[in-house]
């Protein structure tokens, strides 16, 4: 089954028109000695019925959030996804279209992405957002490169240790062959020490990267950090949780120059880590240094409002080696999901999701810390996630919870670059995240499992 049409008589007609007598003649372009002289070694072909049976068998050997109680966090969350999101984005006109280079054939996509940009600008409190990047982690790396272009500084980049360690690792990988020094500021008390931060930055520093609420769920002193950055002429990159701004001040209000986010929480399923949604927004004076696609409004030949791919001269297909990034996709379908999700929620819905997540997380933290052998690693204010320290070891906590049908984690020991925390602390600690999807009963079940 290869989804083909052509019958053998049609094939003969086509070959005749081409002027060759066999398909093999067309393959003569490939030198014979380079052609594979055997069939590929692959498992046998399956019909749809067999394939579905096979996939169901594979799926049955995985633990999914739907059949369990998911308190897992660390950058991906079990927020509720309304059914409209799947229905609308499941339309073939969206998901089987390509990049909207031909504006006339792509107004649906273009308008939806323009709306996405508008919604993200509003969520971030900044002027401009692009049509999305690969994901939150690579988004942080792209934002760092952008800050280097904006400031013309390549000496140093300062990243808070409380930023998602996988994003930090993406930054260090992206900059491995640049002369730029990547300094990671340990955050032993759960958040950035502003005085200590000042000693890390100098006049060659392009940016400070923070996450708020941070990887440990804690809140950062963003305004003070922004002041430190700006005093030295560096930019502040703020990685944020798009759900949190239902309750918390937005990056733009706190002094961020560039905001980035993992947008998975906005209607994107967990699906083992991807595809997710990279969000990037900035002040308008930085727009020409932005990576990724931008949709603009214009008018057509008849004066009618329409949308098109604007500012393409920044991109790789025109600027090639001088492009703002090599990226030539966006996460179109996920940006669409986020647009539908935010349209459904509206301001009140977003506030309620944020508030419910926050309240339930605090209830869970309060109950858990009363258990003997359990405590919170950090004591500052947090949003929907916190670090639980379990004296019998994080893996034992995960096993006990799992036995009760509840999933928590990840363990901090999973992240090699959190090595500024003592090994024994990492071995005992794990993240617990609570979304609006969880109930009091489910929280109590977790508490009972660990007690």
């Amino acid at each position: 089954m290869s989804y083909l049409f052509t019958t053998s008589d049609e094939q003969q007609q086509m070959l005749g028109r081409i002027g060759v007598d066999s398909l093999a003649t067309l393959l003569d372009q490939i030198p014979t000695q380079l052609q594979l002289d055997r069939p590929l070694r692959m498992p046998p072909a399956l019909t749809e019925l067999e394939l579905e049976r096979h996939l169901r068998e594979l799926a049955s050997r995985n633990v999914g959030a739907a059949s369990r109680v998911c308190f897992m966090g660390g950058g991906a969350y079990d927020h509720y996804i309304p059914s409209v999101v799947d229905e609308v984005t499941g339309r073939g006109e969206f998901y089987t279209a390509y990049t909207p280079y031909q504006a006339e054939a792509s107004q649906g996509t273009l308008q939806a992405f323009f709306e996405f940009q508008s919604l993200i600008a509003e969520l971030s409190g900044l002027d401009i957002a692009n049509a999305s990047l690969y994901d939150g982690g690579s988004g942080v790396a792209e934002a760092v490169l952008m800050a280097m272009r904006c400031t013309g500084r390549t000496g140093r980049v300062v990243v808070a240790g409380s930023v998602n360690p996988e994003a930090v690792q993406s930054v260090t990988t992206y900059l491995a062959d640049q002369p730029t020094e990547v300094l990671v500021l340990p955050t032993r008390h759960g958040k950035v020490g502003v005085a200590e931060l000042e000693s890390y930055i100098d006049e060659t520093t392009a940016c400070i990267v923070i996450q708020h609420p941070n990887f440990f769920g804690e809140l950062e002193d963003v305004e003070q950090i922004a002041a430190v950055a700006h005093q030295q002429g560096a930019l502040l990159i703020h990685s944020f949780d798009p759900i949190s701004v239902g309750l918390l001040k937005r990056p733009g209000e706190l002094g961020a120059d560039i905001a980035v986010a993992e947008g998975q929480a906005l209607g994107v399923p967990l699906q083992f880590g991807g595809p997710y949604l990279g969000i990037l927004a900035c002040k308008k004076e930085l727009v020409r240094k932005m990576p990724g696609r931008l949709i603009g409004q214009t008018v057509d030949r008849n004066g009618q409002r329409c949308f098109f791919l604007n500012l393409q001269a920044r991109e790789q297909h025109i600027r090639r080696a001088g492009a703002m990034s090599n990226i030539c996709t966006n996460q179109g379908l996920l940006a669409l999901r986020a647009t539908v999700y935010l349209s459904l929620l509206g301001p009140q819905g977003l506030k309620e999701v944020a508030e419910l997540s926050c309240r339930k997380a605090h209830y869970a933290a309060d109950r858990l810390k009363q258990i003997e052998g359990c405590e919170l690693l950090f004591t500052g204010p947090f949003f929907k996630e916190f670090v639980l320290k379990y004296e019998h070891g994080a893996d034992s906590a995960i096993r006990k919870a799992a036995a009760a049908g509840v999933d928590i984690g990840p363990m901090l020991s999973r992240f090699p670059n959190l090595n500024w925390l003592p090994q024994e602390v990492r071995d005992q600690c794990l993240l617990v995240a609570v979304t609006e999807s969880r109930t009091k009963d489910e929280i109590d079940r977790l508490v009972t499992a660990l007690a």
Binding site: Q13, L40, V63, V84, G137, Q169, G274, T298, N302, A323
Partner: protein, 491 residues
């Protein structure tokens, strides 16, 4: 039929007090929020999102969808993009519980089925490429290029060699130089031969002990197989450089010839193209890379390994290669797209994979033959999966541009080909029909082109005439970009 009311901007459809989602009341103690969060961190009000009822939202987006052309609705011969049919079974199967709802930090013991799938995917990609070590992490083809260049840089650093140059032909996708620059390399562009192939003598002039990587798309962006690829690879290897195969055009050669067998050391796939992702209106993609064994230790982490259990029981684990470059994104990779690619390969099997490539070649050559009298191709008697024709003659004789033809095709119900790429062909029109189109569709498309080239030039300059919009104004809109609805209101 276009519903103009429903396709206003969401901000214009908004009506204070409407809502499209309701949430259950809180069932935990109602502690005052002020006790939970510091007041200085709290927003005065939530963001000003539009306020809509659920039916508003559905009607808006469904109507927007009807303004698109798509593979499900139209022939979409966009060159270099492989717009093939996207099987519906993939959508159902990638949404199965146990796949769609798996948390990325779930421990390996709890996801053996998924790891088995991903491991098999690694194995199949290795087999199709002829390169044994695979990373599924990159999120798209360009991301794969970048990742592979990081791998190359780490490899040379480890060997104590300072290699600064990446070389590529002028016909390369823009992503090649952009990726090379991002990875910190200097770019060297080759002019190439007049027949569209790499000029080995020109390449040799740039090869030295500073050469890190030669990047080449094969078949190239003209749809032609670099016949001297083995010799090209040899001269690059002779100076200690690596050969990178841009796998954008794998749909032409899968099952017929393998990058690892014709001299490639590294490559990426575009799962959303070759293995029918789908394209998702511009993404998400998935860009796994395959490399030779001596580069395996540098791949980003994690990769899936099969553990030796000493019994028949299969056990899989997530492993970190010993000299890993680190990672290029959060989490494992674009698993949702990889699952679809897996379903595709399991449906086709070895024979089906080769058959798909052969049929893609047949369709491209058939369309090339049909169009030869009006849109000749400067390069090659035959092509592989795509071909580049030139509207240069029409431009000179009748003042009709490639863009005019492209726009007019929309009126005939066809998505246009890629135009003005590659840059090495004047008035380039790049057609990639793919294997999942019938002879009847190709005939109808050719008929449309033949009609268009006889039409009045003015009619073409102002085309399209039947689409929801026509020829957006770009110059003023680029000078003063309006990128959000908040900015529209300011204008």
């Amino acid at each position: 039929m276009r519903n103009r009311q429903a396709t206003q901007l969401l901000s214009e459809l908004s009506h204070a007090g409407r809502r499209g989602a309701e949430l259950p009341p809180s069932d935990v103690p109602e502690w005052p929020l002020e006790d939970l969060l510091p007041s200085e961190a709290m927003a005065a009000a939530p963001p000003r999102l539009p306020e809509l009822a659920e039916p508003d939202v559905v009607r808006h987006f469904v109507n927007l969808s009807t303004l698109n052309m798509s593979v499900d609705t139209h022939f979409y011969p966009l060159g270099s993009c492989t717009m093939k049919y996207n099987p519906k079974r993939h959508e159902r199967l990638s949404r199965l519980p146990g796949i769609v709802d798996v948390h990325p930090h779930q421990t390996a013991g709890n996801i053996q089925g998924l790891l088995e799938l991903l491991y098999e995917m690694q194995e199949m990609l290795a087999e199709i490429s002829g390169l044994p070590a695979v990373s599924l992490q990159p999120a798209a083809g360009a991301h794969g290029e970048l990742t592979a260049l990081f791998v190359a840089a780490a490899y040379f650093r480890d060997k104590g060699e300072s290699r600064t140059k990446v070389i590529f032909p002028a016909s390369a996708h823009g992503t090649n130089p952009a990726s090379a620059a991002m990875a910190g390399f200097d770019c060297v562009e080759l002019k190439g031969r007049s027949d569209g192939f790499v000029d080995i003598e020109e390449l040799k002039q740039h090869l030295d002990d500073k050469t890190a990587v030669f990047m080449v798309t094969n078949p190239n962006t003209l749809g032609l197989f670099e016949r001297e690829i083995a010799e090209i690879a040899k001269v690059v290897h002779d100076v200690g450089g690596l050969v990178y195969i841009d796998g954008a055009n794998m749909n032409a050669i899968m099952g017929i010839t393998r990058p690892g067998d014709f001299g490639g050391d590294m490559m990426h796939y575009n799962v959303h193209k070759t293995f029918t992702g789908p394209h998702g209106a511009g993404g998400p993609g998935s860009g796994p890379i395959c490399v030779r064994d001596f580069l395996a230790d540098y791949l980003p982490a994690p990769i899936v390994r099969q553990r030796d259990t000493g019994s028949d029981e299969k056990r899989f684990e997530l492993a970190t290669p010993s000299k890993t470059i680190g990672r290029v994104r959060s989490f494992f990779g674009n698993v949702g797209i990889l699952v679809r690619g897996y379903c595709y390969l399991r449906t086709l099997g070895a024979a089906g994979v080769r058959e798909a490539a052969e049929q893609a070649i047949l369709n491209a050559n058939y369309l090339k033959a049909l169009l030869a009298d009006v849109l000749p191709s400067a390069h090659g008697e035959h092509c592989l999966h795509e071909f580049v024709a030139s509207a240069d003659g029409l431009a000179k004789e009748r003042g009709i541009t490639a863009m005019d033809i492209a726009k007019r095709l929309l009126d005939y119900g066809f998505h246009p080909p890629t135009v003005y790429f590659p840059l090495v062909v004047p008035h380039a029109m790049m057609f990639e029909p793919t294997e999942t189109e019938s002879k009847a569709t190709l005939d109808a498309f050719s008929d449309a082109i033949h009609k268009i080239v006889t039409e009045d030039a003015d009619l073409l300059h102002t085309a399209p005439h039947s689409t929801p919009v026509s020829r957006p104004e770009e110059v003023n809109a680029t000078r003063k970009p309006v990128l959000t609805w908040a900015a529209c209101n300011k204008e």
